[in-house]
Subunit: 199 residues, 2 copies
């Protein structure tokens, strides 16, 4: 005897998600059986609508229901700064701190020679075109992750954009707030010393 078909299919679907193996998928599927009916229907609808109603903004590459996205349409935002991130979710993370009021550009990846990802595989050319078309932009802040790939992508963008006279900056590296020097890794400590500021 096998699992009833709907359960078997649901387990299969859960297993397609990252970090979810057979046991977890089975547990989640059986949990879903006992969930409130409305919650399960809402879940199914949210999945469908995510695919049907979301697109990428043709200007910045962010996820949006309307093209161009809310941020690109908002003329009250600082049009002179573009913050470059790897993924759409990074835009939301930046927006949450409510300290940045400029525009965004989403790369949808980072350069990674090992995985064979070059500049043509990520949203670089659209960023360059955007900078060429729009001479209001004075600064590009590269906010890629502090990983080797993120760092090299930042260096690549800097070399590409600097000749046009636009300032290219990156997020500060250093100790996280609340971090204990004893437990900080060497690279972080090195960057924190290198980037020390006067008090």
């Amino acid at each position: 005897m096998q699992y009833p078909e709907p359960i078997a299919k649901l387990i299969e679907s859960f297993m397609k998600l990252p970090g979810i193996g057979n046991k977890t998928a089975t547990r989640l599927a059986f949990y879903a059986v006992d969930m409130n009916n409305q919650d399960v229907m809402d879940f199914a609808d949210a999945l469908k609508q995510t695919k049907e109603n979301l697109k990428y903004c043709s200007i910045c590459g962010n996820l949006t229901e309307e093209d161009p996205c809310e941020i690109c349409r908002d003329k009250s935002r600082d049009q002179s700064t573009i913050l470059v991130v790897e993924q759409p979710k990074d835009v939301m993370v930046m927006e949450k701190i409510q300290q940045y009021h400029g525009l965004y550009h989403v790369l949808h990846g980072v350069l990674s020679p090992i995985e064979g990802i070059g500049p043509e595989d990520i949203n670089v050319s659209s960023l360059i075109k955007r900078l060429q078309k729009n001479d209001e932009v004075k600064e590009v802040i590269v906010a890629t992750n502090a990983t080797p790939e993120g760092e090299s992508t930042a260096m690549y963008l800097s070399k590409l954009i600097r000749p046009s006279g636009i300032k290219v900056t990156r997020l500060a590296r250093g100790l996280s707030m609340g971090a204990d020097i004893e437990y900080a890794d060497e690279m972080t400590l090195f960057k924190a010393v290198e980037g020390r500021t006067e008090i």
Copy 2:
């Protein structure tokens, strides 16, 4: 700025699953955006069908698409034995080993005075009625988990059923296959000594 509505709803839905917090839910929701369209639609359909097409078997309480379930309908199975489990997924686990060919009964829980779960909250009365109606049954195997709640549910069922002359047994306790005595917990070792068998 907030997450686009479909994403926000999807995050909310993922968070209703056990063991999935805000960060994981966000990661899964953004992963779903980039998933193959067909996979997402299949996922949504599987969720809906799980709710729409699955019911509990009116005889044994197992999850099924048709009532009575495949196992209860199968007259070639040993009608003289009923194996009692806590959850529908335990039925599938037992079926996988292909060594048990009798019938099942799913309690949908265990007795737990702390959580206020008494015999009337789980599928006990239907089991008793089933035994009264059907004098073919010669043995009830209680396969609840080896937890305090599982154990006390087994004792309760044994006391309830034994007077009718039906044999009540439970799964053996002892070392797991491949287990190292050094790392076995005391209770398991105790049970293994107590239940020792002649070789």
